[in-house]
Symmetry: C2
């Protein structure tokens, strides 16, 4: 199975141009699953909820979803892309999974970062997985990396591969995602964006350094902080299905969930 | 508060000599909490349950506990030490917390590594914390590092500091413990041993590299793979009490435990 990412600079507010750039770049690419950054078409640093609402789309009538579906069909691959989602009066920082038959899955970011809380609604979709060409795939978005529960919940539900669209401004995440892969024995693809969002309210510089990580926490491939690149690797997902780390230890069978209650306490 | 570790080579089976070495080295040391390695007095690589039973002690009548209590009283510090525990017919890979007033706390390792399963019983004590001189302290042992639920459960119960007696043969753990400190915004002290256990059944080489890590995942102090050393640092535990990472984000308040059920499923 060939997995990877497209690291690039989405221009703020230029949804059409960003979509065109993704289509032009990915046409003819030989891959199974390609991950794009968080908010891959709108840009990231919104002024307010009004501005976001103008740029967000309802998946059921989204030109982006329609275009990506055609792209996936014509090139026989699947994509995981960050997506500004409008649903009735709500606005979500979502990721969509699209394949040759169209939209397959949608995840709404559970853990919003900083100013996202001003204009996005918190995610309300469960942490789940989907199957793509025999691989079980989990989706998490950017700041979800900071919460070990996210990758863990996806892996416990069978994820072989964590697809992780991101818009990172710091670089803590990359090292932590190596731990996420190691502790869960799964592949992960963090697709970060590059470039700046220079807006009236301020400027954010995104840090690239997208990476593909293997189930031992090893970096299989990675990019610089500012290059635009499609990076793909052939991987053997059976490595993610073997949770054994010694002849007597299995990362999942050895868990003692009856001692982990503090993690789900909601008080 | 002054925290740290004593990294050394416990000689297999030489409980008396190991205890004497610890006493000789730590007498007069100015510290609040000193962490020793896992199985700090017996050594690690037992042949079988019979051999372990011979060397293990019941905390209620343990010469080691009595000696360490005197050491703590005479030097006004607290210790966290790995301890082969016998309790009725059961044998645990435990860690004991001892202070000037004697034994304060005992934790029995929940996640046993490799051959430990042949001779130790799995831990049956909950993940809890204790207060020492105003600091809330959580205890975990060696391979517990691989399970994010352990550090998380301790931190959610208020731990400012994770004390982590270890007997590591690989070096994955150190990087992961930086993630554990970062994701929970807590200090951690990993006290690893050095030297070999060369036994009839085989030889294990322990990898040292003990470390003190701060709440941003930063290495505050660390040791080489084979040096014997007492390493102490003055730290400000208030850094572990501030879980804010932006003006809008708090690592704990931002959690969404209602979405983490997969983690405590026992089926």
């Amino acid at each position: 199975m060939i997995i990877g990412y497209y690291q690039y600079h989405p221009e703020f507010g230029a949804t059409g141009r960003n979509l065109e750039k993704v289509e032009d770049t990915l046409v003819g690419v030989d891959a199974d699953i390609i991950v794009l950054p968080e908010l891959a078409f709108t840009g990231y640093f919104f002024q307010d909820r009004e501005e976001l609402r103008e740029l967000a789309e309802d998946v059921s009538e989204s030109p982006i979803v329609q275009s990506l579906s055609r792209l996936c069909k014509n090139n026989a691959f699947y994509m995981v892309a960050g997506f500004a989602e409008r649903f009735k009066e709500r606005l979500y920082n979502s990721a969509i999974v699209i394949g040759p038959s169209g939209l397959l899955y949608r995840y709404r970011k559970l853990h919003l970062f900083h100013t996202e809380k001003e204009y996005f609604d918190p995610g309300d979709t469960p942490l789940g997985t989907i199957e793509i060409r025999g691989a079980r795939v989990g989706v998490m978005i950017c700041f979800d990396w900071a919460f070990p529960e996210v990758a863990r919940s996806l892996a416990l539900q069978g994820a072989d591969l964590l697809c992780h669209p991101s818009n990172l401004v710091l670089t803590y995440c990359q090292k932590t995602m190596r731990t996420r892969s190691l502790e869960n024995s799964v592949y992960s693809v963090t697709a970060n964006r590059t470039g700046k969002d220079a807006r009236p309210r301020g400027e954010l510089l995104f840090t690239g350094q997208s990476q593909i990580v293997g189930p031992k926490g090893e970096v299989v491939a990675s990019s610089d902080s500012d290059e635009e690149a499609v990076v793909l690797r052939a991987v053997d997902l059976s490595g993610a299905r073997n949770k054994a780390i010694t002849e007597n230890n299995d990362l999942f069978a050895d868990r003692r969930p009856e001692f982990y209650d503090a993690i789900v306490k909601t008080s």
